[in-house]
């Protein structure tokens, strides 16, 4: 047990050791400086030439958003049709059927927004063709979209007053060629040599030692698993994601995959410091994020290694912790670490079933997705955090009686209004839809739908409520993990979460870019003794307070009805 605890700490420390140089490297890449990966330059030049992109053409914030939205819309249409007609396409050795329109709607949106709600199981719901041409493809480009949008934000504050935020296509392409692809190749090779399949053979049928007939699903999974971890998408090849022994074969691969979840999100925080030459600001942001992250990890590791009190009452030996929904080779501590890592970073992959987490851990992962800014999804995590910064700047401004400023630009009513609306939006979507679902379960369990609301839940009482709360929280955060007992492959869940996913992705991208664009346009005010420094510890504490107050006020009542009530019932 002590070894397992040391293991989790070591995994996190190694992540930091790798993230720091990666952050410096990415800053150089996006600054156009020389790096180790210079050999990719001809590839990028080729891509720019064929596509008709002039990477030196700088865009204002509206042009930047338009370019991003156009290509995203194209991907949505492309993915939807491929999924519906996947049965008529090649690379389908298992003869899997096409997706129903509502499922394809949900799946295409889900991967477009760098999420993985996956209301299907990989073994039967997709073909090798769609696993690669829809899922793997979107896992790369949706992550690259996030990084490109972050660059727009950073460029708004790099110079004193700017109109232009750089070229979307340039950042997008380089995110793939210089960051995501090289890292994915490294991780995929490690996985392939550890036992994860990478070949194209279909299902195998064997006779077991005991004489039963058994089928085994396979496929070119290693590459996809690497990018789903690194790009914070999280969508697994197999139904049970990284709990599956082929998707995550050993304790070592589990360590590699956990590091891959956190690596780029943390590195981007460091990159912010290098790129803007504001290391202190990066340190403060990193400090606030890490403070909450470590607390969440400690809580979950404590409760998962302690075990389920209800199982203790049955009188057996629960020395390895709560093992329902967990794998022996990974263990309770490493599963707890993963549960926090995946919900902090909007990743959504799992290495154990979250539905079977003990109540407090289950509550922590839901809360973590409600905050959705502890490192956060690739690129978008810092955009989310930026919204908290704007609100913190505003509140501190009020407290000291000065016009709030951020990086030498006055933050005025319009910017604060946008930021406030975005924080309210999440609470509105999550609680509004959860309330609707809970109402249907309680009052209309027998509506003549294909799957009746009365049959949605896999668990009764408080835990059943948590299943619904988790699903909408996950959709809004673009996380993708679930309390998977929920019967969610039906029209109600496919359509409602589909809309929540779309809104939960694009508005929280558009808003910070708009705020940044507006701020960047304003006159630069040099720092004076009266300026509230945003790179100070005091301001870090202020941001932390804003995060805690906003999430506590918005969500505590909902959490009290689910995980907290369940905890006290045990």
């Amino acid at each position: 047990m002590n070894g397992e605890l040391t293991g989790t700490i070591l995994i996190y420390l190694i992540t930091l050791l790798l993230a720091y140089p990666l952050g410096r490297y990415m800053s150089k890449v996006f600054n156009g400086e020389k790096t180790l990966t210079g050999f990719m330059k001809p590839v990028e030049k080729f891509i720019f030439r064929i596509s008709g992109i002039n990477p030196a053409e700088s865009m204002n914030w509206k042009q930047f958003l338009k370019a991003m939205l156009t290509i995203n819309l194209l991907w949505l249409v492309y993915a939807f049709f491929l999924l519906v007609f996947q049965d008529k396409m090649p690379l389908n050795p298992d003869g899997n059927p096409g997706q129903s329109p509502d499922l394809a709607f949900n799946t295409s949106i889900s991967f477009l927004v760098n999420c993985n709600l996956q209301h299907y199981s990989g073994e039967s719901g997709l073909t090798y063709f769609t696993q690669l041409f829809v899922v793997t493809f979107l896992q790369f480009v949706s992550a690259a979209t996030g990084i490109a949008m972050l660059m727009a934000l950073l460029n708004a504050f790099k110079e004193k007053t700017v109109q232009h935020l750089g070229n979307f296509w340039n950042y997008f392409v380089k995110s793939v060629t210089r960051v995501l692809l090289p890292l994915s190749i490294i991780v995929a090779v490690i996985l392939a040599f550890s036992g994860t399949p990478s070949g194209f053979a279909g299902k195998d049928t064997i006779t077991t030692l005991q004489g039963d007939t058994m089928q085994v699903s396979r496929g070119p999974a290693a590459g996809m698993i690497a990018i789903k971890q690194l790009g914070t998408n999280g969508g697994g090849w197999f139904g049970t994601n990284s709990a599956h022994p082929l998707e995550n074969p050993s304790y070592l691969t589990n360590a590699v995959e956990t590091i891959s979840i956190l690596l780029i999100p943390i590195a981007l925080v460091f990159m912010l410091g290098f790129y803007l030459n504001k290391r202190k600001l990066a340190k403060v942001i990193f400090g606030v994020m890490t403070f909450l992250f470590v607390i969440f990890c400690a809580i979950n590791i404590y409760y998962e290694t302690k075990g389920n009190p209800a199982i203790d009452k049955l009188g057996i030996a629960q020395t390895a912790g709560s093992m329902e929904g967990k794998e022996v080779r990974i263990g309770a501590a490493a599963t707890a670490l993963w549960s926090v890592a995946t919900t902090s970073t909007s990743n959504g992959s799992v290495n154990g079933m979250h539905d079977s987490l003990t109540p407090i851990s289950g509550g922590v992962v839901i809360l973590d997705m409600m905050v959705n800014a502890l490192y956060g999804g690739v690129g978008v995590g810092i955009l989310n955090y930026f919204i908290f910064i704007i609100i913190a700047v505003f509140i501190s401004g009020l407290m000291v009686g000065r016009t709030p400023e951020f990086m030498g630009h006055k933050v005025e009513a319009r910017e604060v209004k946008i930021a406030a609306l975005i924080t309210l939006l999440s609470a509105f979507l999550i609680k509004g839809f959860t309330a609707l679902a809970a109402y249907l379960v309680a009052h209309h369990p027998d509506i003549a739908w294909q799957v009746k609301p009365g049959a949605w839940l896999n668990n009764p009482s408080y835990h059943g409520f948590s299943e619904m709360l988790y699903e909408f929280t996950s959709a809004n955060a673009n996380n993708g993990s679930g309390f998977e007992g929920l019967g969610d492959n039906n029209i109600f869940w496919n359509v409602t979460t589909g809309f929540v996913l779309l809104i939960g992705r694009f508005l929280p991208i558009i808003a910070p870019i708009a705020i940044a664009g507006l701020l960047a346009n304003k006159k630069f005010i040099p720092e004076s003794p009266g300026t509230l420094r945003t790179d100070s510890g005091t301001f870090g504490v202020m941001t932390l307070a804003v995060i805690i107050i906003v999430t506590a006020l918005s969500y505590l009542p909902a959490l009290a009805l689910g995980p907290i009530a369940e905890f006290f019932s045990l």
Partner: protein, 184 residues
């Protein structure tokens, strides 16, 4: 708008080639050099494939060490956990039933010696491993059914504990049972 759309179309095509064709083919090519050639590592008895090294399988007979309960009954065409919540009364009854069944099949074992991983379902439904404690607790039964000395069976389990630095110690059930069949 039209310019954006044109760029989007061409760029999407190129990205598909890079991320969905070149990248997976590259990994598949590297994969052919791995044990199992990229299609999963199998294990054989007398030249006949009896399973995948990393995929657990169903062992119901008392002469074999059994693995963990599985929500998909070890059918690796799919995978699933039970997704039962910790407070679910139906779930707790299932665990209680597993404990009772285990005690019937393993006379002489006390309830407090049953490790939790042996009566709780794994995350994937395909967990290939059990904890060493879960193997030791079955030694008595397996030895009795096979008419082997307990010490010999216990020794075999000892040999099959694989240790990882920092990670939990595990016993691969399929490999243990294969060795058991060889033990005369």
């Amino acid at each position: 708008m039209k310019k954006n759309l044109l760029i989007s179309l061409k760029l999407t095509g190129l990205m598909i080639i890079l991320c969905a064709i070149i990248y997976p083919l590259l990994i598949a090519a590297v994969g052919t050099a791995t044990p199992g050639g990229g299609n999963g590592e199998t294990v054989s008895v007398d030249g006949k494939v009896v399973g995948y090294k990393n995929i657990g399988q169903r062992f119901t007979e008392d002469k074999y060490f059994s693995g963990r309960p599985s929500a998909v009954d070890y059918n690796a065409a799919g995978s699933a956990g039970s997704n039962k919540g910790p407070s679910n009364p139906d779930y707790l009854k299932i665990v209680q039933d597993r404990i009772d069944t285990f005690l019937v099949h393993n006379p002489g074992i006390r309830k407090e010696d049953i490790p939790a991983d042996l009566v709780t379902a794994s995350g994937s439904g395909l967990d290939p491993d059990i904890s060493p404690a879960s193997a030791f607790v079955q030694v008595k039964r397996v030895a009795a059914v096979r008419g082997l000395p307990e010490t010999a069976v216990k020794e075999l389990v000892d040999k099959h504990i694989s240790k990882t630095i920092l990670g939990p110690d595990v016993v691969n059930v399929l490999k243990l049972n294969m060795a058991l069949d060889q033990l005369k």
